[in-house]
């Protein structure tokens, strides 16, 4: 019973404020070359505000989380790929260095 009460309290608290739509990460992801996942993030981010305005609070929160998730995967993918490419360059450099 107490737990249930806590839950409703928690819900009203989280409903009081519109979730951060995480658009900024999607835009940064597309600008900084982190693969096209940024576009998915932007599309989700656009839905947050309109869903919130319609009163679909749960869906709005879910979309915001989705926007964050895709931007994050884009960034992680971009960083991992960049590190792999740097390692590749270093190996190439070492090989050419040893040949002479």
């Amino acid at each position: 019973m107490e737990n249930q009460e806590y839950n409703t309290q928690e819900r009203t608290r989280s409903y009081a404020e519109k979730p951060e739509n995480n658009l900024v990460w999607g835009i940064l992801c597309t600008v900084l070359c982190c693969l096209p996942f940024g576009i998915v993030s932007i599309v989700s981010a656009t839905r947050v505000d309109s869903l919130w305005a319609m009163g679909a609070y749960d869906q709005a929160i879910a979309e915001a989380a989705k926007a964050k998730k895709w931007a994050m995967w884009g960034a992680i993918g971009g960083v991992i790929a960049s590190i792999l490419i740097i390692i590749f360059y270093v190996i190439l450099f070492l090989i050419s260095y040893h040949q002479y």
Binding site: V24, L28, C33
Partner: protein, 132 residues
């Protein structure tokens, strides 16, 4: 400033620091130099095609040295995307006391973002056809 404020405005504080550090790195190192270890764009590395943001590192190096014309030649789309990214950053991270609520409304506008996405994809196609 309370601890919660600090957590909330974490990016507002971190962003200028990141900007300055990257500025120093890109001012001093030339990505076109043969001995540079700057990572090539993963898309370009794998497919050989330019992605919409390819050339950003070379362009930033040129801009920091005042060579604007050369920077535009590397990537024309950056003249749209970087100012837009700055607007989005200011509106979302520096929205203290709701001063940028109007700007927030503008960037979250469906049509603004659809235009951005359409420009992004058309630039992607055009630059690979015209090879620019």
């Amino acid at each position: 400033m309370t601890k919660e404020d600090l957590k909330k405005h974490k990016m507002a504080i971190l962003f200028p620091i990141i900007l300055v550090v990257l500025g120093i790195i890109y001012y001093n190192m030339d990505p076109t130099a043969s001995n540079s270890f700057f990572p090539k764009c993963p898309m370009k590395f794998i497919t050989g095609y330019n992605c919409p943001s390819c050339g950003i590192q070379r362009a930033i190096h040129c801009v920091l040295h005042g060579e604007f014309q050369k920077a535009i030649q590397y990537n024309l789309f950056l003249t749209i995307s970087i100012p837009f990214a700055f607007i989005v950053i200011i509106a979302s991270w520096y929205n203290f006391n709701h001063i940028f609520d109007g700007l927030n409304k503008f960037i979250c506008n469906r049509y603004v973002l659809i235009t951005y996405i359409i420009l992004y994809f058309s630039w992607w196609i055009i630059r690979n056809i015209l090879n620019c």
